[in-house]
Symmetry: D2
Subunit: 275 residues, 4 copies
Amino acid sequence: MKFNLGCQLNYSLPEDSTFVLNISVARNDYQEVLEESIQIEPSLNYEEYVSPWVKNRYLRLNAPQGNLQVSYRATVEVSCPNENPDGIAEVPPAELPLDTLHYLYPSRYCQSDRLMRLAQHEFGALKPGYSRVNAICNWIYDSVTYLLGSTNPHTSAFDTATERAGVCRDFAHLGIAFCRALNIPARFVSSYAYNLEPPDFHAVFEAYLGDRWYLFDPTRMVPRQGLIRIGTGRDAADVSFATIFGPAQMEKMHLFVEHLEDRSPTATGDAIATG
Amino acid sequence: MKFNLGCQLNYSLPEDSTFVLNISVARNDYQEVLEESIQIEPSLNYEEYVSPWVKNRYLRLNAPQGNLQVSYRATVEVSCPNENPDGIAEVPPAELPLDTLHYLYPSRYCQSDRLMRLAQHEFGALKPGYSRVNAICNWIYDSVTYLLGSTNPHTSAFDTATERAGVCRDFAHLGIAFCRALNIPARFVSSYAYNLEPPDFHAVFEAYLGDRWYLFDPTRMVPRQGLIRIGTGRDAADVSFATIFGPAQMEKMHLFVEHLEDRSPTATGDAIATG
Amino acid sequence: MKFNLGCQLNYSLPEDSTFVLNISVARNDYQEVLEESIQIEPSLNYEEYVSPWVKNRYLRLNAPQGNLQVSYRATVEVSCPNENPDGIAEVPPAELPLDTLHYLYPSRYCQSDRLMRLAQHEFGALKPGYSRVNAICNWIYDSVTYLLGSTNPHTSAFDTATERAGVCRDFAHLGIAFCRALNIPARFVSSYAYNLEPPDFHAVFEAYLGDRWYLFDPTRMVPRQGLIRIGTGRDAADVSFATIFGPAQMEKMHLFVEHLEDRSPTATGDAIATG
Amino acid sequence: MKFNLGCQLNYSLPEDSTFVLNISVARNDYQEVLEESIQIEPSLNYEEYVSPWVKNRYLRLNAPQGNLQVSYRATVEVSCPNENPDGIAEVPPAELPLDTLHYLYPSRYCQSDRLMRLAQHEFGALKPGYSRVNAICNWIYDSVTYLLGSTNPHTSAFDTATERAGVCRDFAHLGIAFCRALNIPARFVSSYAYNLEPPDFHAVFEAYLGDRWYLFDPTRMVPRQGLIRIGTGRDAADVSFATIFGPAQMEKMHLFVEHLEDRSPTATGDAIATG
């Protein structure tokens, strides 16, 4: 599927500040960037760093005191294969690709080490496989209230497991933590999302099953086919859309995602392979 | 029912230390102390303080460097009424006795303020009353593993809600926190317990329902009729069996509880009124 | 000193709700209420409960759906003795009045059990006495940033010890936790405060020294002579100005404190005895 | 410097279990492995995975029910340059190599996002550079008690900042968290350590300064020249010496490190460059 998308970020800077932005769409086997532009006002140079494995694209720029506007636009073709979830199995630790192992370890916002018994209690008896990760997503959807403003940047899966309210980022963190606690590698995905209301960056997660990564969204807020990946990381700490060194104030943020073809993304029970 | 019970505590003290002990059986409408003795070696004076409402009996003694042995023995008649739990209702906040209100507030180990949504999610739809508190106990029994050594003196209900392992004190804290989150006053009870294996001090909790307090034990380790109350508090912080000011080392602890009559305490589905 | 003070609270209630308010000035040896009125719109009955030891005055009222306005006004004479702090000693646990002991135990927002080493490290070598509690206040003032909006109702002394930002309530909780960790009984005081900007309820704390309680305010925001006590508790959990059972929305809150005499409250290095 | 070193790990397995071991010495520009052997009883195949950037060597093996013994021995030449610390500067975020950026982000045990103000308060005014990281180490050494058994695998820098006790792993986590909070990339290093008493795996940390990584050990337990690197990671979660999938019980662990030359590792004030 083809999308036009973009964002515009406005900041006011009382002092010179350094920005590391992670807003560019990732280029990988399933995502082709057909066209792309980035515009910065005032006009500034920037460096791009593409992280070697997951291909996150980080832009660094040093902005002078005053106003800063960053506008990103892209046309992207996304072609993740849809698969029948029935045959997708979990991989025993003895057979996991060794480069997925570090997605089993606990991270800042996904303290899987402290959720072991809870995960076992809720999901330990379920049949392993895609359907078990799906059951994790259903549990989160049913047990956690989506509530804007209920959490903050310090909130972690350990908190959400008990406090039971959060936003997309918290839902993803809890899904990741549960998967890892069951020895399923899992990681965080930041994205543009078609039809998200209100428009914003979206957070979902991936689990490693069979011989690849599959996409999950416990919020059920958008069709997974309408997700265009920006960053991949252990959790939100790795893929903040803006890491700012200096005292900047965000003034405005605007996102858009348009669908360019006849068939629009729709909710599906299929598995969506993403890596 | 009538019990002989007691404990013997042995400490070695590298320096003079002050002890506040809460090991004496409480005297109240439902507990008559028929005989009692306390023996301290070396021979020392002590003060007793009985807290005005819940009648906890705190003994303070200043022990010199060296060895300390405290032996407590009592013969106690316990006569808590057994009631049919069916008619026992919750009391709306508008009608609660005002002196029970502070048992609704969060405390060190029972952070009910952070368990509101979890409590609502798990128990909010249940019929209010004794049976709802019983459902809380069943949930804890089913969801939390009783595991000696899995927790420490800093562990709180917020931890146990996710980590799902603990000892009697943790079970009681979680029950209290859930009750308070549902606007049911609840408090901690330390006790001697008949038939507890291995012998130790035991922790249970009370909830205020109808017009009095009722006893609950989510561990199901002993018959509730075999509980002889020592202390009552907001949580374990209030009724530690020994608060020690100084560098004492516990060397040995021994407890015993014997039943003195024909009919021994047995498991019962009755409500046990305790205050 | 004599003050006119009061507050007006406005709520909108989508449903009938029960309120427990703790906004009335406490009557004790050092505070005489010369005149007082409470006005509720719509006109409603209320019950008052005065807690037996610390004399907190809790008002309970059941308000119907719609708007609720509560107005409280009082004229109060405050006459806490000012003392020379030099001779005020700490009391060893062996000699503390036994009814102060439970102000040594950790509470929801003052986890003194987890701050033992930090308190020893920072204050353990200081000369015991009033000056040590003063040093605690200075440390808090120097180390924690007063920042409106930086914390929330779940924030505790354990958080503030590291996060180093908060409001008056957080400053008081940290002071209390440090004192308890050093075996100094300490408790939370909510108050009206002369010259507080912006006007709001204020939180300070008391420590037990010599043979009485003394007042401390690590925020230094107002002269301690200008504090008029509302509630006393283990921490903020006990003396919330409004505990609401039901879905109320606060619409407005207004407080005022006027000084009625020539000599106005001023900053002082004296100790202020309060109980 | 040249070392003979090794470890022997003994487990009993009630069931077949999968092990991922990180006990082999890393091969990099500063560490040459001259000889090496690994012995497993019963005889088992294993896979080795070398992580692409930091060159951690993970061994995976599937062990059958029964006893397992893993013995590792190596002769290693370590040749980290010693440098004069005076001229070693911090690198502003605008100039940091972009592949060091993710060592600025918070991780499971190093929640730098919650230590910002504490780090600023304690170290913000110090002259940036090697000496500031050294000041962090001194602060940790002076403020945190090294105490075996005081922490557990869930303990994090946020806890240690207040609880002020821990072991080498906790010391390293706190150092890393402080550095990141000051925008200094920092990471965890597990190692064999010459002269460590009692012999055990040791944890230290690295900070990125000037144009490379430098080694720091806030425990001061061993000369830094006597450290032989095993793993490098964001924190301990990445470099556990044994990640076990299955119910294994450790029965014994033995480590040794011998120095093979005349000049033995000694305490030094030099900076030790390691990457």
